[in-house]
Amino acid sequence: MELESITEGILYAILWEGEMDNSLDQMGILYTDVEFLNQYFHENEEKLTYYKKPSYTPQDAVIRTQREAVALIQKLKDLASDSLEDGNSLDGLFKQLHTVEGYSHPRYHTDVKAKGRPYEAPWIRVYAVKCDDNLYVITGFGLKLVRNMRDDPELINQLRKLEKATQYLRSERMMST
């Protein structure tokens, strides 16, 4: 496990062993890639049935995911480039994971509340560990199409990553124990 600075003193991302890119780069690459998304939603069409209102075809899902990703990346870029003087803060972007039993503070996911959010309830999630106010470490990402993370093996894997990252950050004294 390696750490990469996204914005020093504010945002970091984990580069997991055996992976080419850190979690933020991966999210940006995959969720704006129409070819990847098209294949993903065709191969995982049953996941779209979890998401009932409104119903989505794989092609609709591609368009939605790409739009969400563009908005999320833009928001992160704005936060990275603007100083925090105008009240911008990652604390407004990351919301506490509260729907998962046994998982509470300090595990967080993104919920783009700010301008540019194209949908009411975004399904792209960027998972992060909160080390302090406005200080986060991104651990992974996923598409939350189910009510509970435990209903999707890919999201269960994200929970494991959050757990592993928390242990690491605590052991390295990058967050309070």
Binding site: L3, E8, G9, G28, I29, I63, Q74, D132
Partner: protein, 158 residues
Amino acid sequence: MKLTREEKIARLNKKAAPVNPDAKWMQIAKWNEEHADALDDYVIIALRISSTLKAKKMTQKELATQLGVTPQALTRIMKGRQNLTLNKVRQIEKILDISIMKIDKVEQSQVKVRTKVKPTKVNYNYSTQPFWEKDINISKFSGRKEKKESIENLSIAA
């Protein structure tokens, strides 16, 4: 153990690789900004090509050859990350026998109406002086309206 924010940041910075200004996510963000108006179009075009290739059982390599582009360039189109010219879109439409850039009927009719308008031929009589060189009877210009009309008349009659 309670740590201050500064302590945490110092440890994170010590361990983490420095900020990469050319990070992939940042490059994507910049490209998205530059192509913001066309991003949706690129996505829809890519999806349309993909479904047509599947229906026609045609490979991307075959399409690339017919389009005269490298497989890498076509891959970028399929990923929605290629700036497309109208000419290239028309080429794709022709090869795949599909319509990507539709013009609505209303718009089409407007185009027809516009093209029906024939340019009016204006005959300029160059033998006469241009209006700004004509002798103008100043006494005629008693008011603003008259002045305007007179100028209009001159411009038409000239």
